[in-house]
Structures are given as C-alpha cells and as structure tokens.
C-alpha cells in the first residue's frame, strides 16, 4: 500500500466524493491500486468508481430486511446437517478437539468452561525456527508431575510411608532441577515428614500424627498421600496439560488445556498470533473486541471444518449480538433472548410464567415494537413491508 502514490489516493477520494460514494478505506486503496496498475484514464476511473458505487450499494442490506431471522436460518439449516454426520471429534495427531454441532452449541451458549480448551502458540521472528528454544518452551508450558520423573515408587504399609526414587536422566530431559523438585515437594507437603537422600535421589514421605490422624495413621491416609504425591505438578503452566510440538511452515505448539494469560507473558512468543479456543479467556485477557473476533473465527472454522459454507456476515451478526453490551452474552434464556425488553417476547420464548409474574409485579409496559409481540397480538410486524407507514403532513 505504501507504494501507491498519495496523489492517486487523493484523486480517488475526490472523485468518490463527487459521485457521492461512501467507500470504506480499503476500497479506496484497492481502486487506487487498480488505477495505477491498469494505467486507467481519468474518465475510466470515473466510470469504475461509478460502477463500484452501484454494485456496493446494491449489495447493502435494505432497510426493513429481517437480517436476524435470515442469519438464524442460515446458521440453523447447516446445523441440522451437522447432527447427521457424527464426526464430532478430530484434531491434531493425538489432540482431541470438540468439533461440529457440540462445538457450535458451545460457542453460541458462551460456555464458561468448554469441553476441550486448546491453544495454538506461535513464536516471534527470532525463535520461529529455533528448534531448541521451542522445545524448551514446550517443556516449561507442559504439565509435569512427579510421576513423570520417577524411577521407582513404593508404598510401604509397614512403615506407613511412601518412597520415591527420582530419575536424574528424566529430570534432565525435562529441563528441570532436582533441587526445584524438592522445593516443590516441601512446599506442598508441609504437614508431612520428609526425608531426602541426595545421594541416590530418593525421597521418603510419611504422614505426621496430628489432630486429624490421632487414631493412628490409616492405610487410607498413606494411599491418598501416594496419589497426591504422584500427581504433584512440578513444572508447567497452570491448566495446560499436554503440549504437542509441530512444524509446518514454522514451529508451532498445540496445547491441551489453555492459559492464555500465562503464555502471553512468556518470552519469545508471538503475542499477536498466539490464541486459544476458549472465548471467555480471550474476553478476560484481551477484551470484548477480541472476543467478537474470536466468536466469528471459531464459529466459522467449526462450520468450515464440516464442509458447510455460511456467509461470514450472518456469523458476524451473531457475534455482534453476543458482544454489544461489553460482556459476552449467550444466545438463549440467560442471554439475548432472556434480556429482551419486551415482556411478551420473553414470555413467548421460555419461562413464560416467570416473566409474566415479574412483569406484573413491576408493572412493565410493553411498547409492542418487536416482531414476536406483534404476531401475538395480531398486528402487522414492523419489518419488511410492515416497516413503512403513512404520516399526515402537518399544515
């Protein structure tokens, strides 16, 4: 875009103004570029702008168009087809990601906890092709438990303790330090007796006699301790379980589980392209505009993946509705449909009794401006041909 002459751009803007065409900025650039490349004459440019204006205005939605209903139908119809082919899981090698109808429902419902959160982590220009760095980052992100670095594990019911032997090779392989592991253990098991043998990397833990275990240490206590110890996380980002390293054009990490905030703080990561499929996380970390884009992207990808093509504008409308008031709202009882201003519209959707009761208590007034209300009372709906009316001239 920089190579296009500012003069040309100004010229296009001028003609566009003359033709009363209101184009988005990118159109102006495109026209200017075409003018430059095709070496058009001024007259040709004028015709071009005129024609584009015509086509542009033709493609605009007319006022009174029922865009909401059309969007609902356009998303709903492919939705019925999705139920039929039941491949709702697919993904990167070993990574399972919810797809298809369940995923679409998840997006539209704006679920707080989604069934398969996953991240795609990109690296910045310096580290994009640095295999060593990528692998190191991966190991710091991935969840590692004590169980992953063990050589031997033994529950001794005679001594009522748990003995573990840490493998130095495995520790090194995972880019960890033995001392760090001990620190982690000591931090998490403050109420236990810990014996560490630095020589052969063995650690013995036993429950301490206290108020809770005054009747003596039960087998159950030792077993619980053993489970807790084995699952103790010694490295990795919270909520991220596994990391899969892939190389397509560049090195990319795919994760099972998601924690965008923590990952974005790390070094060498491309903060622009790194993303998650958890819409609520995007909302808390990046804000509402990003959320809107995430909804559009996720919904469109889900549909695309099933081989269904829905015009992006329908999905954009859905995303807009979900994010207009600055917070993510679901589509349904607790979101858009449940917060409509009209009592009759809400009562017609779900929880009829509740809405009528509350309306009667508060003395709500229904202005009868919506569609459903007017269908209920039997008036022409204020959309399409019903959106025009006659006004008498005031003399």
């Amino acid at each position: 875009m920089e190579d296009i002459n500012q003069k040309v751009i100004n010229k296009v803007i001028k003609i566009a103004k003359k033709k009363e065409a209101k184009f988005p900025e990118s159109y102006i650039y495109d026209i200017a570029e075409a003018y430059d490349r095709r070496e058009l004459t001024d007259k040709e440019l004028e015709t071009l702008i005129f024609r584009i204006k015509k086509a542009y205005e033709h493609s605009k939605v007319e006022s009174g168009e029922a865009i909401g209903t059309v969007a609902a139908q356009s998303v709903g119809e492919p939705g019925t087809q999705m139920t039929m082919n039941t491949f709702h899981y697919a993904g990167v090698v070993e990574l399972n990601v919810t797809l298809g109808l369940p995923r679409l429902i998840e997006i539209v419902d704006a679920r707080k906890t989604i069934s398969t959160p996953t991240m795609v982590i990109y690296f910045d220009e310096d580290h994009r092709f640095d295999e060593e760095f990528v692998k190191k980052t991966a190991s710091t992100i991935a969840k590692i438990t004590i169980n992953d670095v063990l050589d031997d594990f033994h529950v001794d019911y005679g001594q009522m303790n748990v003995e573990i032997v840490v493998s130095p090779e495995k520790v090194k392989e995972k880019h960890l330090e033995f001392d760090d592991i001990i620190l982690d253990i000591e931090k998490s098991f403050k109420k236990h007796i810990i014996n560490i043998d630095d020589e052969d990397y063995s650690i013995t833990i036993a429950p301490k006699l206290d108020k809770r275990t005054k009747n003596g240490i039960q087998i159950r206590d030792v077993r619980l301790l053993a489970d807790k110890l084995r699952n103790l996380q010694i490295s990795g980002v919270k909520d991220v379980n596994r990391v899969i390293i892939r190389k397509d054009e560049e090195w990319v990490l795919h994760t099972e589980g998601s924690n965008l905030k923590a990952v974005l703080k790390m070094n060498g990561i491309d903060k622009v392209r790194t993303t998650t499929n958890n819409i609520h996380e995007i909302y808390t970390v990046l804000g509402i505009e990003a959320t809107r884009n995430a909804i559009i992207k996720e919904a469109l990808n889900t549909l695309d993946e099933q081989g269904l093509s829905v015009d992006i504008r329908h999905i954009m409308l859905v995303a807009d509705m979900m994010t207009v008031d600055g917070a993510v709202k679901s589509i349904g009882r607790h979101g858009i449909s449940g917060t409509k201003s009209s009592v009759l519209a809400r009562a017609a959707f779900e929880e009829t009794g509740k809405h009528l009761l509350h309306a009667s208590i508060r003395g709500e007034v229904d202005e009868l401006t919506g569609i459903i209300e007017n269908i209920i009372i039997g008036q022409p709906i204020p959309i399409g041909t019903g959106s025009v009316s006659i006004m008498m001239k005031n003399k």
Binding site: A66, I377, I383, G384, T385, S387
Partner: protein, 603 residues
Amino acid sequence: MNGTKIYINGELIGKCENPEDFVSKMREKRRSGEVSEEMNITYYDKTSEIYVFNDPGRARRPLIIVKDGVPLLKDNHIQEIIEKKLKWDDLIGKGIVEYLDAEEEENSYIAMGLNDLNEDHTHLEIDPSTMLGICAGIIPFSNHNSSPRNTMEAGMTKQALGLYVSNYMHRTDTRAHLLHQPQTPMVKTRITNVTDYDERPSGQNFVIAVMSFEGYNMEDALILNKSSLERGLARSSFFRSYEIFERKYPGGQEDKFEIPGKGVRGYKSEKAYRYLDEDGIVNPESYVESGDVLIGKTSPPRFLEEIDEFGSANEKRRETSVTVRNGEKGIVDAVLLIETVEGSKLTKIRVRDTRQPEFGDKFASRHGQKGVVGLILSQEDVPFTENGVVPDLIVNPHAIPSRMSVGQVLEMVAGKAGCIKGERVDGTPFNQNIEEEIKMSLTDNGFESTGCESLYNGMVGERIEAEIFVGVAYYQKLHHMTTDKMYARSRGPVQVLTKQPTEGRAREGGLRFGEMERDCLIAHGAALALKERLLDESDKYEAIICGECGMLSVHDKIRNKIYCPICGEVDSFPVEISYAFKLLLDELKSLCVFPKLILEDKA
C-alpha cells in the same frame, strides 16, 4: 483375579475357578436335558465373566451342534424325519439341535454350510436363510440386495394388503383392508413354506417393464396399465366397523335406537336418515356417504329441563346417532344385532368400500422399491412386446442402480422364466447356481437370457430403440391410499376455546402454518401476508377496549350500548387483535394480573 464371576440373568451369584470346564459342562447338561434347553451360557475370557440367561424376551435361533468337525445330525435322522418318526422336539431332546441366543453366539463358531465345516466349528447353520425372520424371509434373493433395502422391505411388507385372516367376513375389525384375488408369489422362498405365506398371500405378480415413460415415473412413481386395473389388479376392499349400544343411565333412562323425530335436539336433515329402517338401523347393501346416519339413536337430556308454563317437565331427547365418518363412503356390508353383557341392545355395522388403484396409491416390490402411482395409462398406449404382452407396470430404471437392489432384477428374470415354464421358482437367499438354470429356461423358450426384449410404442407402434428389461415380479399394495389422505379446506369448524381452526383431517381442520413457515414469511419481510395467515385466516377478533382503564369493554346488544365494567359508559374503541391474545388477557386476569392496553392513534 481369583475366579470367574458368574451372573444369572445379570445378577452376580458366585464365582468359579475353572470357567472353560464349567461352561462346557453346563452345555452338556443342557444337551442331555438335565438343564432346561432354554438356558444359554456365555463365557467372556477378557473380562473373566460367565453370563447365564434363562429369562424370557431373548431372540434365539436353532443350530445343528457340531462335534470334532462332524455335525450330529446324521442321514439316518433325516430319513426318520422324512418318515415322520422324528420330530423337531426330539432333535432338541437328543441334543442334536439347540437354540442359541445373541449372547452365546459370541462363544460359538458357526459354519454356513457343510462345505465350510472344519475342526474348529461348534455349530452348523441348518440353512443360511434361517437367520432371517418372517418379514425378511419373504424377500427372494435377499442376499443380492443392499442391507438397507432389505430392512425397508421387512418393514413395508407389514403394510401390504392381502388376505389378513380367512374369517374376515365374520369379523368386525374397526378398520381392515382386503386384497381382491391375492396371488402366491411366482418366486418364493423356503421360509414362506414355514410361515404358510402361500395360504395368506399379500400381493400379486405383475408383468413389469423397466423403462422411463413420458416422465410419469420419475422419482419412483409407477405407471399402471388401466386395463389391468379394470381386470381387478391390485383392487382391494376397505372395511370399517361402527359399534354402538343403548346405554342405560342412572334413573332408569336409556338410549333408544330409532329414527329421531323432528323435535329432537340436534336433528340432522331428513336426508341423513333416509337409509334407516323402522328400527333405526341401516339396511345392508345401501350405499352411504359421509354424514349419512348408520344407526339412529336418541339419548335422554343431559340436564333436567326447566318446567314449562304448564308445570310439566318437557323432556327433549338428544340426537346421538352414528354417522359415516368424515371423508368416507361405502356400502353397508353387514349389520349385526346383538346384546351387551348387561342386556342392552348392541349394533355393529360394517361398511365396505372398493378401492381401485388411483393416482398416489402406494405400491412396493419385495426389495424395498416403493413408489406411488404417477399415471394410469390405457392399455392401447402402453408399450407392448413382440409377443403382444403388455406390462402391468412400468418402473423407472433409475430406481435400481443407486439402491443396489439386484434381488429385484433377479426376481424379475426368475419370475419370467417361471411363467414360461409354468412352475414356481425357488428364490431362497444363499441358494447358489440358480442363475444358469434361469438363463437356460429363458433361452430355451426363445427369450434373451438377460430378460431384455424389444418393445413397441403403444401410441405410434414404432419399435423402441433400446432393449427393455421385462419380467415378472411380486408387487404389494400398501395401505397408504390417496382416498384416506386427500384433503383440503377453505372454511370450516373452529375450536371453541381459541376460535382457531380445528386440527386434523378427521375434524375437517386447517393446515397448520407452523413456526418455521412463520419464520420464512418474517425472513421475507412479508408482514401483511403473515398477518393474513395468522390473524385474518385464523382467529381474528374485534375487541372493544375501554379508553380509560384499558380493559375489555362490553357490548350490550339489547340496549345497543358499549360500557366498561369498571369505568362505566366512557369512550371505548374497537381494536383488531387475535382471539388468542384476548384469551391470554383473560387468563392473566384470572391469575389476578391486571393487563391494560394503552391505546394510541395509529401511526
């Protein structure tokens, strides 16, 4: 871990140390008769569990037991069976044949035929086709069909008209269909021998040409030869029985069969009663149409009448006659006069209606190839073969390839060969080597072995360029008929509560303009078309609203005054709303909610 768990009918009852031994011992006991032959036992080594079942409701099937690669059923047994010395139960009792359920099949290795048999087999199939049930067993060459088609046919054959019972003339089924002149199928299966299908067949052998014809058999439509129909092909009768008795009421009153007098409340027209005999019941063989009374009946009044000016209670009886159902017609087939257990007069009336095939009636072959009649063509116009054979039915070739119902093609060739030879063909599935035989008998009689023939256009007599596949197949008339479904309404009855049109054909109801249809009109922005559908054509209502309080006003027709029950005679305005909305307002009021309509001038 320690021992295999044993479940009986899904309940854990114990463990055993040596499962293999235990299971085989149990099976021995079953075969020797020590344990009921209905017991089935299965051992799952992966989960180390033994399942024993002896409860009802399991599908089981018989198999010949095999020991060391040799079936226990020997030639001498077969000889004895032929001589009728040995019966089926004896075979089970001797431990030659046993029934397996789906569970125990998991533990067995079943040989399809004698040729496949080896040392490892535990059972031998009596015949491969015993795996099929009654419905699927009717399908000839079903092993050549794709499985969905067989499934569909198994479902459809239950809808076929036929000779459903042989004492139909003594029965009063509420509704019954009966096929005139049913035929036994030209191509039969051995399973139909067992089920006595030939005794109660449900179809007829049609001569079929597979070709397109003027586009009238697109999308599975069928073209029928009119003359064939006039000769009685696929003709059927429909019987409907009506039943009513003279009910006795507490207080000594009772219903009475009679021709209702003109004074009776709810008196229909004189015309409706014209077929009634003196006793108030129709005469047999009279032609009746919907609305005609079959049994004239009057009932005592529901409430005690007011005492009239002369001081006597004027009893006015109600008309409660039985009429012919809406949309039906027919000839009174039988009138039965009997008594109920209480001794009241009981009448059953059977009305018969002949159904000649017409446009839209549904037919199906035995291979899941269903279709509706798209054209009834005069015999003169139907293409004919060199020998002058005119097919009864023309089906579209597009119906075959994508559905892979090769069985139908085979049936048609086999049917044709059978017709020539004058004997029925065995089309039992998994029966090999029948193809050559069919081909032979066709070529021997001067036909193409493929079943194709030259056809001549019935209208102009030109030879049709392509060779047309002609054969004989068994077709079934299914009980979905146009007369039972055809319906339209412009005006008609409405519901009392909502003033909306009633629902359903039997109630002369409207065709529902549903939610999705509504959404479509919204999407098109057709606001006034939508209003017309949902209001003008449905439950339009002019409500009078009080301008003061916003509640419904009352129109006193006697004094011709409009007043509001709350505010008195203030300004009220007529507003066009749906009656359903008025009802909503009324119901809200009954819940002590006070909905008010705020009126404004129309913008």
